[in-house]
């Protein structure tokens, strides 16, 4: 059985409710603090622990990495490829060091596994490119990080 209720005309036109809703919109539009930032003019400061673009830390111009292969071992995306070699000033060093960055999931486990404080994830997050780049040794050796 259908129940029939009788509401007043004003109520049936929702005028009061519409006005109330509009008041909230206006209040937020003009008076609430703004959350959107005007990227790229304005940039957000991320935490120092943000996990962004990789780099290999160097000390006095020599890479810290000793090609121990712990980062490729731990990497869940299997995106780190290292070839080890020997040179007069360093018993073991990475001849090749490549990160297939498109496969990387930025878990930061490589940084955590590294016994030499070599592989680092910087706070750089602007990494989009037009080609499918693989980071190679010379790219990773640029000290663009801040850690």
């Amino acid at each position: 059985m259908l129940l029939k209720t009788k509401e007043s005309l004003i109520r049936r036109m929702y005028l009061v409710d519409v006005a109330k809703g509009l008041a909230i919109t206006i209040k937020n539009f003009f008076f609430a603090p703004k959350i959107t930032i005007q990227y790229p003019e304005e940039r957000r400061k991320y935490s120092d622990r943000f996990r962004g673009q990789h780099y290999i830390k160097a000390t006095n111009g020599v890479e810290n990495c000793t090609a121990c292969m712990l980062c490729p071992t731990v990497c869940p995306a299997e995106c780190i490829h290292i070839v080890a070699g020997e040179r007069p000033d360093k018993e073991k060093y990475p001849v090749q060091f490549e990160i297939d960055i498109l496969r990387c999931c930025f878990c930061g486990m490589c940084e955590e596994a590294c016994p030499k404080d070599a592989i680092k994830l910087s706070t750089i997050y602007e990494m989009s490119t037009e080609s499918r780049d693989v980071y190679d040794r010379s790219f990773l050796m640029e000290q663009r990080g801040n850690k």
Binding site: C68, A84, E86, K92
Partner: protein, 471 residues
């Protein structure tokens, strides 16, 4: 059988077994460094000390023979305290080299320091360091990592029959070296790297190539000579990195010679022919199986041909050829070949006092068993030859003959061949070989065939059906 009790578990043992071996039977691990089942017992490292009831002092398990009714505690308070002290003592001078040490991952010292050691060092004095002299082409030495177990010295003296490793100086300054810093002379130097429990003696050939935990092992048999030493091929992503001996007390005990250990390199040789090839204008040109099979049939048709079978082929392949050849090449004379000067199994004798045999191919005895005749000299009046081999057998002089090769050849070896059909190496196929004792052993496929190489059975099937397959 007599019984003893180890950590509350009763074990039967045969008289003469030491406590380490007896404990292994019930899954109790007693840590040890200087003991090796293939060497004499010196009880030097003291790591294996355990408590034996009714004995006032700890006993070293490697030098204590189990007796009936013996009660042994391997994890008593005193035994644990001893293990901890020995570990600390060994580690005071040990460098933190694991990240660059090839032994890491299969290092007894590394494993035991997780299990029995302490994560902290109390040592603040300077660590002992050495300058290492070169040891020849096989072994690279790093004395900083040595724990003075003397396994290497005993291996040379007791197994390899050459006293080339010695300990100089004493105590903390002890250094293991060759006499006067000479390079190692033995043909079995790779075993030094196997038995060294730490990263002091390592293979030059394997240096920095791969971390050991990435390697997969395939249990197979060496094809270097008629002994057929049991070994593991260690590989990753279809590349072989090294071969290590596998224990078999009746064939090779725990050892492997260098020739067999490094024999695998020809599998990945850049010069190996991996596509079917036919000679045109004096040069071998890559083609397809269809065209090269046609060329092979044409090269042998109506000719007076010899069929030469390398004794590096398996029994299965030999048997297959025994059925194939009378049908498809009925007029050809068939011989086996392998090592210059070794024609029949009677010629195969020990080449040294350790493992090596004179026949440098693995299946000479299998071929003889199947009734094939050895090649002394090629019959006269031949004008063609079909050579089938695995990659190890030494090719006889074949100049002036129109030659078809099936199997593994380098470009250089095939310089006079008119057709090459690429086959498989021992690492790419399964099969049986018979060693000098008449023991049938199995070789197993470790990696997938390189390039367009095909199994002999496939090639013969295509030959028989007059097709080129679809390749």
């Amino acid at each position: 059988m007599p019984k003893c009790v180890i950590d509350g578990r009763e074990v039967e043992f045969s008289p003469g077994e030491n406590l380490i071996e007896v404990a292994k039977k019930v899954g109790v691990e007693i840590p040890y460094f200087c003991y090796h089942p293939g060497l004499s017992v010196v009880a030097q490292c003291r790591m294996c000390a355990v408590e034996v009831e009714k004995m006032p002092k700890l006993q070293t398990a490697c030098s204590t023979v189990a007796t009936d009714g013996m009660v042994v505690k391997t994890r008593s308070e005193r035994a644990l305290a001893n293990q901890k002290s020995v570990m600390e003592f060994l580690l005071i001078n040990h460098p933190l080299d694991c990240p660059i040490c090839d032994q890491a991952g299969e290092c007894d010292l590394q494993d035991y320091s997780y299990e029995y050691g302490s994560p902290y060092s109390r040592y603040t004095e300077e660590r002992r360091t050495f300058l290492d002299l070169d040891m020849g082409p096989v072994i690279v030495k790093n004395m900083n990592r040595c724990i003075h177990c003397t396994r290497c010295i005993r291996l040379g003296a007791e197994v390899l029959g050459i006293r080339e490793m010695v300990a100089t100086q004493r105590g903390n300054k002890t250094e293991i070296a060759t006499i006067d810093g000479r390079p190692l002379e033995t043909d079995y130097a790779g075993n030094y790297a196997d038995i060294c429990p730490v990263g002091s003696l390592l293979l030059k050939d394997f240096r920095f190539k791969k971390r050991v935990w990435f390697l997969k092992k395939t249990a197979t048999v060496c094809e270097g000579c008629a002994r057929g030493c049991n070994m593991d091929i260690q590989h990753d992503a279809n590349v072989i990195y090294r071969c290590t001996p596998r224990e078999n007390l009746e064939v090779n005990q725990y050892w492997l010679c260098d020739e067999g250990r490094f024999n695998f390199h020809y599998v990945h040789d850049a010069d190996r022919i991996m596509e079917p090839a036919v000679r045109a204008d004096g040069e071998l040109k890559m083609t397809e199986f269809g065209a090269s099979l046609d060329a092979a049939r044409a090269a042998l048709k109506g000719k007076k041909a010899a069929v030469l079978l390398g004794t590096d082929l398996t029994q299965e392949e030999a048997k297959l050829l025994q059925e194939f050849l009378p049908k498809y090449l009925p007029n050809a004379s068939v011989f086996h070949f392998g090592t210059p000067g070794i024609v029949s199994e009677a010629d195969d004798a020990p080449a040294d006092k350790i493992l090596k045999r004179k026949s440098k191919t693995s299946n000479l005895h299998g071929f003889e068993k199947l009734g094939f005749k050895g090649l002394k000299t090629l019959p006269t009046g031949l004008d063609a030859a079909l050579v089938i081999r695995g990659g190890r057998a030494t090719l006889p002089e074949l100049k002036g003959l129109s030659t078809v090769g099936i199997g593994v050849f380098t470009r250089e070896e095939a310089a006079t061949f008119s057709v090459v059909l690429p086959g498989l190496t021992f690492a790419e196929k399964d099969g049986t070989i018979v060693n000098f004792q008449g023991r049938e052993q199995h070789i197993r496929r470790a990696i997938f065939p390189a390039g367009n190489c095909k199994a002999l059975s496939e090639i013969l099937a295509m030959w028989a059906h007059g097709t080129g397959g679809n390749a």
